[in-house]
Symmetry: C2
Subunit: 600 residues, 2 copies
């Protein structure tokens, strides 16, 4: 039906007859001539409709925004002074000979090039929203990104194998989406949170190198950049160790960034032990573009008379850290108040600080703060030395449970870094975080939980710690962060049934429970399971970064809202009683429902 895409009409084909299909992006009447900007997925082309072809001109007169058109005409150079350098077809226009209205349009609720639309309006009219050039580009970028992943993995001998969507519910980690079975009354499938166990089974089955770009599901309360269903680039390999997997995967990411947006990432990526990442950046996905760093002071403040510090410094699991802001003495009271409020989000009860008037005077005149008088000279000296404070700086302090301090100062570091320009100037700062602990201690449940997941292998030399000191046991786990976002993570897996049983035991998963939930894995591990490991990348997150988009919803064609709804199709929705009966389920009482609605 056409000879070219609109975006392909350019100078080299001046003089040619072309036929285009697309949408009327704008229509202007100017000096008795009608100009239609015709839009398709590749761009815009300017169509000129002269009144000397009355039939065509009459059609052009009836054209409104978003009419679907087919036009034929001759490509010619635009008159001097009307060239548009911003678009590919900006040097030419098409003198229209014929115009056919393939489908008219009612007036759209918004202009396709309108900006600053509310997100609800965009999601409700998603089909029109997707016509916006930015969304067209985002979806094409997503496609190119996935294709770059595939090409690299294909070339590296990885085989794409599909794993099931209707799987077994294993309530570990996040909440499952459940699917009632009709054939087996009272039983349920679960949608996969990841293909983790299946990809391990594929390794045990000897497929050697596997990948899959697949949907995963988590029924969690949604944060800004989460979706109930999300897409994972899932990868697993046999017979490679931690270092080899990391090296191959970072090469993959370099190739993807180069192919998708022409960006050059460093080679190699730096590797940062988890402990160091937390100490220096308060985060296991540090934004290394930001040049600010935390300094640890816990050991130096045990015997100060400032009670808040002393009690934290002497408590189990407490941390005192400082964040030096170069030149920060000039921050206004209002700015400091705002930062104090900001760290409150992360549970910090306050934000102590010292203004460094003169770094050489370790007293209340050189260091301006109500807390200075309660810190002895050695403490003050340590603060200045470890932070590297200079005259004119400001030092923020966090003193609380380790997690609160890390979360609060880690976030403050990034916020101030970007707001005040403490940046190293690099566009992309990838970093591997390695040497994660095997276990986190859950204070509420008084038990160890898996830091990655229960199938992650301990470091060989830490195997004995599984029984004696789980908290010190490190894992062969690795996460890749970029500019403060987690791109993906993975680990070498346990390939020995005996070690897997030990880890289950450390997690308080008894033999019976293990057999019930993971019996098929334990069974498979007994038949010569190969050493294996892998990783999963979050495709939505990666494309969001590549696109420079504000939200992952901008790189998903039909996303859910933060209340897990599709505004376009109105899903979820109620279903027929007959459907529920067939599935052997019923709704809980109305009263229940209403209470829940009220809470929602």
């Amino acid at each position: 039906m056409r000879t070219h895409y609109c975006g392909q009409v350019s100078s080299p084909i001046i003089g040619q007859e072309v036929t285009l299909c697309g949408w009327a992006h704008r229509r202007r009447d100017h000096g008795g001539v009608i100009f239609v900007d015709l839009r398709d997925r590749e761009g815009l082309a300017q169509v000129v409709c002269d009144p000397d072809r009355p039939l065509m001109f009459k059609t052009a007169e009836s054209v409104r925004s978003e009419f679907c058109l087919r036009i034929s005409g001759k490509v010619r150079a635009r008159p001097e002074g009307t060239v548009n350098a911003h678009i590919a077809s900006g040097e030419v226009e098409i003198l229209c000979h014929e115009m056919e209205i393939l489908n008219p349009s009612v007036t759209p609720p918004f202009q396709i090039d309108e900006e600053n639309l509310s997100e609800n309006i965009r999601l409700l009219h998603r089909v029109l929203d997707l016509r916006r050039p930015q969304m067209q580009q985002n979806m094409q970028l997503r496609y190119r990104t996935a294709r770059a992943f595939r090409r690299f993995l294909d070339d590296a001998g990885f085989i794409d194998i599909e794993t099931p969507m209707l799987t077994k519910s294993t309530p570990e980690g996040a909440r499952d989406y459940l699917v009632p079975s009709r054939v087996h009354p009272g039983q349920f499938f679960a949608l996969p949170q990841s293909p983790q166990l299946f990809k391990q089974l594929l390794m045990i089955a000897g497929f050697d190198r596997y990948y899959q770009i697949t949907k995963c599901f988590r029924d969690e309360d949604l944060r800004a950049d989460r979706q109930p269903e999300f897409t994972q680039v899932d990868i697993e390999t046999s017979f490679m160790n931690e270092g080899e997997i990391i090296a191959l995967m970072e090469e993959l990411i370099r190739v993807v960034f180069r192919e998708a947006i022409g960006a050059d990432l460093p080679n190699p990526f730096p590797r940062l032990p988890y402990g160091e990442a937390m100490d220096r950046y308060g985060s296991d996905k540090p934004d290394l573009r930001v040049t600010l760093e935390l300094a640890d002071l816990t050991d130096a403040l045990k015997d100060v008379s400032f009670k808040v510090f002393a009690s934290v410094a002497n408590s189990d699991g407490g941390r005192i850290a400082a964040l030096r802001i170069p030149g920060g003495a000039s921050l206004t009271r209002g700015e400091i108040d705002a930062y104090t409020q900001f760290v409150g989000i992360y549970g910090a009860k306050g934000l102590a600080y010292i203004k460094v008037n003169d770094a050489t005077q370790l007293n209340e005149s050189g260091l301006q703060s109500p807390i200075v008088k309660n810190l002895h000279a050695l403490a003050l000296q340590t603060v200045v030395e470890r932070t590297g404070a200079q005259s004119g700086d400001l030092i923020f302090f966090g003193a609380d449970k380790r997690k609160v301090v890390n979360d609060a100062l880690g976030a403050l570091r990034v916020k101030i870094g970007h707001e005040k320009g403490f940046l190293n100037g690099h566009s992309w700062e990838p970093v591997w975080v390695v040497d994660f602990p095997m276990f986190d201690y859950d204070e509420e449940e008084k038990r160890w939980t898996a830091c990655h997941h229960p199938f992650t292998s301990p470091k060989d030399e830490h195997l004995p710690l599984l029984e004696t000191d789980p908290g010190s046991c490190l894992a062969k786990a690795y996460d890749l962060a970029l500019n403060g976002s987690e791109l993906g993570g993975g680990s070498v897996r346990i390939h020995s049934a005996a070690v897997q049983e030990q880890v289950f035991k450390a997690l308080g998963i008894g033999d019976e429970e293990a057999a019930l939930k993971f019996g098929f894995l334990l069974d498979a591990l007994r038949y010569g399971a190969p050493p294996h490991g892998g990783l999963a990348f979050g495709l939505d997150r990666i494309v969001t970064l590549l696109a420079g988009a504000d939200s992952i919803r901008d790189v998903i064609a039909f996303p859910k809202t933060q209340r897990a709804q599709c505004l376009l199709t109105d899903a979820p929705s109620s279903v027929d009683e007959k459907q529920l009966r067939e599935l052997h389920i019923r709704l809980r009482q109305k009263v229940d429902t209403q209470v829940e609605v009220g809470k929602g």
Copy 2:
């Protein structure tokens, strides 16, 4: 950890040191030497363990089936007379220097090269079953096939765009799998039966050419070659007409077959109108390798005295057809009884036949059958002429409702064709079936139903028939069959809101129901929807054909049984009461459940 795959070790690298990882496929002791056939995904390599390296030899002695090993050694030519021409590495062996047991194996429940295992045993031990070379090849073939689809579609400008898995339930067609919403009590998502509406929305959004290889779900009672979740190559394009879409799609299939298995499919594929397909083959996915054809006799038997024929011939919707079996007069009574039983599966109440002793004698001696005396001369002459019967042939008759006759004789045609060798000798016989009717009449519900789906466009010239004579209205729909299997099907879609409303009306879907279920589509169609159409291929089915497998379960890594269960992971399974409470559902009473279990 290795230098080569086992299957890559061959003559050109004789003399080289190699390191291999894999599984002990077989271990033989022969003349004081141990031979281990080491297996990985690329094939087998013979490892020779001489006792002159005692440490290694001791390890080799402890090796049992399915141990996971790493070996190093030197590649050398096999001694004359021991070459194995069946495998890539059959001319060489590796003289083992070092052997490491990466993981031992308990004794497997079956040998990996054992054949004729029951399917339940295979599915229960799927991980080991997948180690079988045939399954390894099937999964690699599936991967190559999907990749060939992607490459062609990438090159043709199609963009892979993901559509949601958690969608709206629209109880048309098959039964939905439902997913209860936690956030919205009493409401449900449905898993997609196909991305049909979303891909149409993507066309309306201007993406022009879309594809996706994606999971679809149907909660139906499973036939031999169905799965609850299956994989579709889903394709849609704008601005192409029926003929252009068909031409592009058959080129796609030719390329896929060439790349996947090196098969050459004809160019072009034949196109067969639906009506003709049913008349001549009794099927809308005819196996054109079979040379037998049906002959229609309905009009010629209206006034015969054989009541069964006359009443069918004069009834609404009845059909009488004949299937000539060349040389079939020699069929035994037992064979004919078996065929009679076979057509019973399709609802045929019997299987009348005539033995053609002498095709020139149109009487009870030339044509041997109890029914001959009740057929007048002209009728007999028509039977012989239309079937082309020769002396020594046999003619089967079907007389019943059109559907019963087509199903019964259509299946009998294929069965006899393959059993008795009435085949044209071609390996692959693709055929487009086109010109489908828009509607089927549902006798029970006394209403028209969509033959493809409600979004299929009528032929332009048949638009007026939507109101006056829906039964005669043909659709811009097309199915691709190959060797009697349906590879895929599609249609040009309705792109006018007005026509879509007319079709809903013809289907008895009122305005309110249409707005509730498909309001978002009707809405989108009003904003300059482009002409568009597409198709979906069944990937599981195509790979099954390419692999020459007996069942689609042999080309799916982790399939469900025909009772929709995963025997490996034991899904579906019961879940915690807490999970149900969070989803605002409860199970129906125990008694209900038990009754249903008894029925299942």
